[in-house]
Symmetry: C2
Subunit: 262 residues, 2 copies
């Protein structure tokens, strides 16, 4: 796994940062990228104690912004907060990390895991493409997917091969849909950029990324024992995000840099 060595200050927007992988993203972004600015969002900042503690140590480089990705009205407020409150006009990375698992509500899972990312991406595209003609760093959108969203991988598992295989249709279906959404955003956005600039070196890298099976509240459901810590998973994903090229746009990466099948 290569080390992270981003050579210039970046502005990075991450959703779902109150705990788990989102919180770890923020921690590593602040400690490993010395001059970067992190906009960390979560539903209720006042209840996100760990995030607030981080804020104490990084008051100038960390902005905590309230955002419920399952609520369209909450998303609509983001541009105002960015432009007016924070004076931010340009974003380099959007990490659509916020996710939801619930076996009972397919709608709520879809709203959070798929509709949230499309609406947030739409809202932030003006920031990701701001002054694109002058920028020499290629912006990127990262959709946190899952190996559970890989239809090909699930199909290859034999019936009854492993009783611990989770079907979890609501979650699996949402992540397969998020993978398709990654393609849709890649195609729509980069086609538009090409029509505007006619420069094959201009674009936004849009990828889906699987964190692997990680020790989080989600990963340990039912007493299961994941092999990865969130530190390892995020270290891997940051390396992937930093090292992808424009040609990689539209791909589905594992945290360890491997390409995953749809």
């Amino acid at each position: 796994m290569t080390q992270l060595h981003i050579t210039k200050p970046l502005t990075i927007f991450v959703t779902g940062c109150s705990r788990g992988l989102g919180l770890e993203f923020v921690k590593q972004l602040l400690t490993k990228q010395k001059d970067s600015l992190v906009i960390a969002t979560c539903r209720e900042p006042s209840k996100a104690e760990d995030l607030q503690k981080l804020k104490e140590g990084y008051s100038k480089r960390l902005h905590v912004v309230p955002l419920d990705v399952s609520d369209e009205k909450s998303i609509e407020k983001v541009p105002h907060v960015l432009s007016k409150d924070l004076g931010i006009s340009s974003i380099d990375w959007l990490i659509n990390n916020a996710g939801y698992v619930d076996s009972d509500s397919m709608i709520k899972v879809y709203r959070t895991n798929v509709i949230g990312p499309i609406l947030i991406s739409d809202a932030l595209i003006p920031y990701l493409t701001h002054d694109l003609s002058k920028r020499d760093y290629i912006p990127r959108i990262v959709n946190l997917s899952s190996l559970l969203g890989s239809i090909t991988t699930f199909q290859s598992i034999k019936h009854n091969a492993d009783a611990s295989v989770l079907s979890a249709p609501s979650y699996r279906c949402s992540k397969a849909a998020l993978n398709m959404l990654t393609q849709c955003i890649d195609k729509d956005l980069n086609d538009k950029i090409q029509r505007t600039y006619s420069d094959s070196k201009k674009g936004v890298i849009v990828i889906a990324c699987s964190p692997g099976w990680v020790v989080t509240d989600m990963g340990t459901v039912g007493g299961r024992k994941p092999p990865l810590t969130s530190e390892q998973s995020i270290q891997g994903m940051l390396s992937v995000i930093e090292n992808v090229k424009l040609d990689d746009s539209g791909k589905f990466f594992s945290f360890d840099g491997k390409t995953l099948p749809w």
Copy 2:
């Protein structure tokens, strides 16, 4: 394309039959399978004139049942109608045909195209597996998907290669999710059947099927000119459905019998 020659009477349940592919499914099932019973559902039978006309000619073999696949309560009524009103205890084919396209409402599209099929499948599984130990015909569930749901295929299209390529994220995402759902139903149902019977010849064939690009209200949006008639598409899909084997369960077929990538 092989001709349809089903050798025994089947009971077939089809959703979304007021027009388009659903109506054509019903027509061909009635004319080509002489002793089969067709349960054709649609939201408002009283407004489905073409379906009612068919009913006149096939009063004993066609039952028209009201069903809104986007409405959980409507789905809950189906078992009562089948068992009490129609005296049906066993179904051979479930064709989840009803679909919806709307670029504005991702939720409504998901509710119809993904949540509908999972709820209807759950409701009809007792009928599909009824007396399975004694049945010598393998029941099947067919989810009407689309080539637009193939993430692999969409990824392979070059940027700007064809301006007529539809992104349509709400529809594409729903069909990718439906493809994953096909895997989930296949795994859950056939694992359960194996645990019950320990007989590798028992099971339910669960497949996703793409109708191809067909001259329907949906296919001709924006003045586009599809190469297939609904007659050709349905003829192909009926041949696929009839000829699949238990080993094919979990696959994604095109109307012409080819296997499609996820």
